[in-house]
């Protein structure tokens, strides 16, 4: 295929990608190396912005805490969304007649904007006029009618549950597609040899699904590190109950738009750069590890 034709096909995507993704990325990374006065660029100060992040007070405590919350978010998503999603996908795979109906229902929250979902759940969980606490009181479980989003210990867990509720459609659909691509002969052979359902799943289906599990995990990691609209709607830009739901993206938003220091652009670019390096580095390592694990298994 002549190079000119290939270029014609690939060039539009490459152009959009370059203008709207690559250039801003490189520009933002470069911003973190300068000192800013409002929106006019000052002097080149090297890594001083990053040093500020590590030593100056609000950042020194807020950044590790936000990263911790991101990590907890990721752990919660993997433990709940992946496992429950895989369970649903597998069970629906075995019931082809009702599969479409349930997939649609499970994916419905996925269609609504996370900002709206966050706001909806703050209304639902409101201790004064929310239906959930009202329902718990009505059936007598008054002791369980806690201020769900007001308690710093509960808030992050609730946010994770809401996120799982919204995005469970993603693994259900993805694993459903992956399960549809598996050959049926292997599971049939296993059941002829006397394997129970659980044994067939664990020793035959699951190893074949490992590439899909890996992909979903990497995407969940990237998503958990960048989660913003849901947390912003639930906790506001400060991670409302005393910073208990503060995540890196909220931190970035606060620093760049609400901190009021003249060097806001420099420090927030540094925050974004740190976040990018963490995401990119971990995703690269994880993808490489997954590829070699796949090669070993096949």
């Amino acid at each position: 295929m002549p190079l000119g034709i290939i270029a014609l096909f690939v060039l539009p995507a490459l152009l959009l990608f370059g203008i709207f993704l690559l250039y801003p990325l490189l520009a933002a990374l470069s911003y973190s190396l300068f000192e800013w006065k409002g929106t006019s660029r000052g002097d080149f100060i090297g890594f001083a912005n990053f040093v500020t992040l590590a030593t100056d007070l609000p950042y020194r405590e807020a950044i590790p805490r936000a990263f911790l919350h991101n990590a907890l978010f990721f752990a919660g998503m993997i433990l709940l969304q992946n496992t429950v999603g895989l369970f649903f996908a597998y069970q629906l795979h075995k019931r082809p007649r009702i599969r479409r109906f349930f997939q649609t229902l499970y994916a419905m929250p996925y269609l609504v904007s996370p900002l709206v979902i966050g706001y909806l759940w703050t209304l639902l969980l409101s201790p004064s006029f929310g239906p959930i606490n009202a329902l718990l009181k009505r059936i007598g479980l008054e002791s369980l009618a806690l201020p769900w989003l007001g308690d710093p210990n509960l808030a992050l867990g609730i946010v994770i549950l809401i996120a799982v509720w919204q995005w469970i459609g993603f693994p259900v659909l993805l694993y459903g597609a992956a399960l549809g691509g598996l050959p049926e002969e292997t599971t049939q052979a296993a059941s002829i040899d006397g394997a129970s359902n659980w044994q067939a799943f664990r020793y035959v289906t699951l190893p074949l699904l490992l590439p899909a599990v890996g992909t979903v995990s990497v995407l969940t990691f990237i998503f958990s590190m960048e989660v913003f609209p849901l947390v912003y709607a639930i906790g506001g830009s400060t991670g409302s109950p005393a910073g208990a739901t503060d995540v890196m993206a909220l931190l970035f938003y606060r620093v760049s738009f609400q901190s009021g220091t003249p060097n806001a652009l420099g420090v927030s670019s540094a925050v974004a750069a740190v976040l990018f390096l963490v995401i990119f580095g971990t995703a690269m390592i994880a993808t490489r590890a997954l590829r070699s694990a796949e090669r070993r298994l096949s």
């Binding site: 959009l16 993704l21 990374l29 499970y106 359902n197």
Partner: protein, 143 residues
Amino acid sequence: MSASTLDERRIDRMHRRNRARARLGNGTVHAVLWVYAAIAIVPLIVMVLNSFRTSKDLFSDPLGLPLSPTVQGYVKAWTDASFATYFFNSLFVTVTAVALSTAVSVLAAYALARWKFRGASLLESLFISGLMIPIMLAMLPMF
């Protein structure tokens, strides 16, 4: 010589036990599927039902149904909160973005998938690494 050997009878018993276990598990799984379907859809239904009630109504009885439905909320959203502007903006952004990105991606994906050329895998990993870039990094320079 009997027709079925000891081994065949053992395997037959195992099959029957597995099938009985599977039937019990099947009912439970069905129940779980329905329960989660309810969990997935009920908050959204509550949201829609509540949109037809007034704020006073919501404060006084959170669990009630819209017995005297009102479209007051929708009217206020359209007029006071300039929902029309937001809605049409969103519509415009969505349609344009989907059209443009689909057109561009289909071309590039076809080239990458069907033709072998020298920079193919490099280009592919370049595009995929775009997924890993946090959106905020990309938006900052626009300010």
